[in-house]
């Protein structure tokens, strides 16, 4: 790797600004920094681009004032869905605005006119984020888990830092997860895991530290999960929230290709799914399009656009979101079939649900038919509907947790023994996380918990 191709050269930047003049100028300036630039004049389109080409960008620069979507909203979306660093820009440098930017998660706030030297430095935000992710997962056990983040660093040329293929490690990790599942998450302890794993040379300390990391990872997921649901439900443009949930759901899942049930690819199978109301849990498992061997294909073209005409009432939001939460297959089928048959201006083809109460019933009916996941699902739905009544503009921290307590969902409510690797509950996800067949990105890691919790 020579100097010319070393990081941060070729940093992949997405610039979002409704002003064509600024787009042109920023593009020029960024190219001058030897960055790879993609410009976009609409926030919605930017989101589409990011969803489509998930791993193709390292950082996003966005203007604050845009006609089709508030820059802060875009910022939230990107943070939740893609977890990319976002820099805000504005000609307005008022402290309150800058503060709002920071509150919404911007890693920097630039004042226009932006100078070359400011743009040259943006790579630090990419680097910093990666470092944080590494630190979070890394323990004193060193590089093992860096491999998980390997694909999150796709853009960087410093892959050598993180490359490590060690099938022995992967096997150990798989055994670890199996052991945890078998014991039951809440009863787990290093000694028990160690005994179950029965790996010569593995010490209790190894296991203990790994368990610690694992717990941190899960709690981080849980937190992000909460934020996503709350953020998604709060959106003005409700459909966006909906489509995000759907996107999240349909996109993250990756199963090894050797799954016994042979989960079909989303695009083929979903459309043939009947209403899930009466399906048994087993049927659910076999029809949910979890294992998508090619992750890239998951984000269907129509994702964001298909919902562009949904009435932006919060009611609809909850309808859609609740539907999304419970009628997994239905929602996906709507999503994907819409992408095929609906024009950009098409109607949303959700099965119509009148009134929130009937949705709740619908939700719970489905939940009831799905056995052990019920307890974990209820709070989520309730959380969503309760959020419907929250006003859009909350002072202070953007994610008020009133009426929602995801903390009440103990992980032990998942009855692990019911599920094999092929399911999408936590254990399945855990396996996904560790599976060496997966192309795993740091973004992908964030999704599993959502699906495991909310969608049966």
């Amino acid at each position: 790797m020579d100097a010319a191709t070393a990081f941060p050269y070729g940093l992949r930047v997405l610039v979002v600004d409704d002003d064509p003049t600024w787009l042109k100028i920023l593009e020029k300036m960024l190219r001058k920094c030897s960055y790879e630039v993609t410009t976009c004049g609409l926030a919605r389109v930017a989101l589409d681009i990011l969803r489509e080409r998930k791993n193709k960008f390292d950082i996003v620069i966005s203007d604050v004032n845009m006609p089709d979507m508030d820059g802060f909203k875009l910022l939230e979306h990107i943070g939740l869905e893609m977890d990319l660093p976002v820099i805000m820009m504005s000609i307005d440098g008022e402290t309150s605005r800058v503060m709002k930017g920071v509150q919404h998660g911007a890693c920097d706030y630039l004042l226009k006119p932006v100078r070359m030297k400011e743009l040259r430095n943006i790579w630090q935000h990419v680097y910093r984020k990666k470092m944080h992710e590494v630190k979070e997962i890394e323990g004193h056990d060193s590089c093992d888990d860096l491999q998980i983040l390997r694909n999150g660093f796709e853009g960087l040329d410093d892959k050598s830092l993180f490359m490590r293929s060690d099938s022995d490690t992967m096997r150990k990790r798989k055994d670890f997860v199996n052991a945890v599942n078998q014991i039951g998450f809440d009863k787990v302890g290093p000694k028990k895991i160690l005994d179950l794993m029965n790996v010569p040379g593995l010490t209790r300390e190894n296991v203990a530290s790994h368990l610690q990391k694992y717990r941190l990872y899960l709690s981080r997921l849980q937190k992000q999960n909460e934020e996503r649901i709350l953020g998604a439900a709060r959106q003005d443009f409700s459909h966006k929230g909906t489509s995000e949930n759907l996107n999240l759901r349909s996109s993250f899942q990756e199963q090894p290709s050797n799954i016994p049930n042979g989960y079909p690819h989303a695009s083929q199978n979903i459309q043939t799914q009947a209403n899930m109301q009466d399906s048994q849990l087993e049927d659910t498992k076999s029809t949910v399009p979890l294992p998508l061997p090619d992750k890239k294909e998951v984000y269907m073209e129509g994702d964001g656009r298909d919902f562009s005409d949904v009435k932006p009432s919060l009611m609809d939001c909850i309808k859609s979101t609740s539907l999304a939460l419970t009628c997994t297959v239905d929602s996906i089928s709507v999503q994907l079939s819409d992408s095929g048959t609906t024009s950009a201006d098409g109607d949303l083809k959700f099965s119509s649900v009148d009134g929130l109460s009937s949705i709740k019933n619908c939700c719970f009916d489905q939940i009831n038919s799905q056995g052990p996941l019920r307890p974990s699902q209820e709070p989520s739905i309730i959380g969503c509907t309760e959020l419907a009544s929250l006003p859009d503009d909350q002072p202070g921290y953007p994610y008020p947790l009133q009426g929602v307590s995801f903390d009440n969902i103990p992980l032990s409510s998942f009855d692990f023994s019911h599920y094999n690797d092929a399911t999408m509950i936590l254990s399945g996800l855990q396996n996904n996380w560790y599976d060496d067949d997966l192309e795993f990105s740091s973004e992908t890691m964030d999704y599993p918990l959502i699906d495991g919790r909310l969608f049966a």
Partner: protein
């Protein structure tokens, strides 16, 4: 006209634009980007984009102010857009007039806004004329240089 004369003219024009505060340092940055980047048409492109966009925005504002009931929020949003746009090419005077315009929007004064719009328009047209002259001179210089080769 000889190449040198053309160049002098262009130079004088730019000088006066700077000294009169029509354009500021940002415009200089654009010139540098062009020169250092080796892309001769860059400034022309940016300037053209700005002029088109500004024209559009001004027309929108005018339409909004003609309504029986004026939506000052929308007007303000457009003015803010124009302000941002003008900052991109370093159109200093236009930018300042936009800032003043926003005051009238805050006060929700239709008359005030109409007056401010007139001022913004004038400044913009003035700048646009100068930009057009600048571009013409540049083209002539290029044509002249090309002929010399």
């Amino acid at each position: 006209m000889a190449g040198a004369a053309l160049r002098d003219q262009l130079s004088a024009l730019l000088s006066s634009m700077f000294s009169q505060g029509l354009v500021d340092e940002q415009f200089e940055q654009l010139q540098m980007l062009q020169d250092e980047g080796g892309t001769p048409g860059f400034v022309a492109e940016v300037v053209t984009l700005f002029c088109d966009d500004a024209e559009r925005i001004i027309a929108e504002i005018a339409t909004l102010l003609e309504q029986p009931i004026v939506s000052f929020d929308k007007v303000d949003a457009f003015v803010h857009q124009l302000k941002g746009s003008s900052a991109s090419v370093g159109a200093q005077k236009v930018k300042f007039t936009c800032m003043q315009f926003r005051q009238f929007c805050q006060e929700k004064s239709r008359d005030g806004c109409l007056m401010a719009l007139a001022v913004v328009r004038n400044e913009f047209y003035d700048l646009r004329n100068k930009f057009q002259t600048m571009l013409q001179l540049e083209q002539q210089i290029q044509a002249y240089d090309h002929k010399q080769q």
